[in-house]
């Protein structure tokens, strides 16, 4: 094996983790493995959303500092990001509640795969809508600072692939466009967002059909359906004590 001095990126990466853990009260995260785009079922997409922060005079690192600190505040209403206590730092795990059509709440999470001064990346666990990661970055280009969100993903299983095809991609585009616009407006910029979508691989990975077992949407729905039963059971327990 090569011997080299410690790399500059050493503190920015999470340590290898095989199973995620998150605080109690959140489902579909603890015990799940983080997934890369190779582990999904659907077509592979790279989606890039960016906005110019011209006129704000903020450096990329200043933008990322604000973005990390206020990350959940820029999300569309109805979606919740339970930030880890240590904030967005390498190796931290956050739980998410995402608003889905039909009033369903999809509970899942993300691992902070990478975080440095100018970018951070979230990696999804098994059961998430997609297998892959999202990189949030800021950079200087054409005399302005830009903020960008880039998703590299495959829908995790056939159900999600169907959902992504019939409205899921549009919902995701709206989610990240809203986020960038809110960030830009928070920083005093106009918030015009451009989006670019590239299909990296049109092939679906049928060997990953079994991912449906972990589907967080189905499990969240079952969990919601079981809520009255759990409440009743807890009431009986309290009565017995």
């Amino acid at each position: 094996m090569s011997t080299q001095p410690e790399n500059r990126d050493a503190g920015a990466w999470a340590q290898p983790v095989h199973r995620l853990t998150v605080s109690e009260g959140h489902i579909n995260v603890s015990g799940r493995r983080p997934t890369a785009p190779m582990h999904g079922f659907g077509r592979m997409w790279q989606k890039t959303y960016r906005t110019s922060l011209a006129g704000t005079n903020l450096s990329p690192s200043e933008v990322i500092t604000v973005w990390k600190e206020h990350f959940p505040e820029f999300w569309p209403a109805g979606n919740r990001f339970f930030a880890p206590l240590a904030g967005i730092a390498p190796g931290e795990v956050a739980a998410l509640d995402l608003s889905m059509p039909g009033g369903l709440k999809l509970s899942t999470g993300v691992l902070v795969l990478y975080a440095d001064e100018e970018s951070f990346t979230l990696m999804t666990p098994e059961g998430h809508m997609f297998a892959g990661w999202i990189t949030f970055s800021a950079f200087a280009e054409d005399g302005a600072t830009w903020a960008q969100a880039q998703v590299l993903m495959r829908a995790s299983d056939p159900l999600y692939e169907l959902g992504m095809t019939f409205g899921g991609h549009r919902q995701e585009d709206a989610h990240w466009s809203h986020t960038l616009k809110a960030l830009a407006e928070h920083l005093g910029a106009s918030g015009e967002v451009s989006a670019e979508t590239v299909c990296v691989d049109r092939k679906r990975q049928w060997s990953r059909v079994g991912n449906v077992w972990h589907n967080a949407g189905m499990r969240s729905a079952l969990h919601m359906a079981g809520a009255p039963g759990r409440a009743l059971k807890n009431a009986f327990r309290r009565h017995e004590v």
């Binding site: 094996m1 990126d9 990466w13 890369a36 990696m123 990189t135």
Partner: protein, 116 residues
Amino acid sequence: MNELTTQLEVRMPAPGVSVIEISGEVTRESDGALADAYQRASDEARTIILAFDKLEYMNSSGIGLLVTLLVRAQRSRQSILACGLTEHYRQIFELTRLDEVISIYETEDAALTAVA
């Protein structure tokens, strides 16, 4: 932030096998250079070895580029191997689960022996 630099050298040490030697940094800015190196390496190659001995810095955008390169190679029915990874970058391959889809060897010689 320092000026970002990526140097990529393409060699063909054996028939059907190309090596892309990656030096410096692999980041968002490496996209064009990596795509160009892959194009040059692909001529008549069924196996492409990525040699990371001189890699100094890689961020998550850089790992993303490796994933897209892997997909291109799979579409062209080519194999991708990696060698020369430090313990640090081996851990990153493990973390991102790239080690499940790219065979990793200690040295270029070991990778060449494996494909011979």
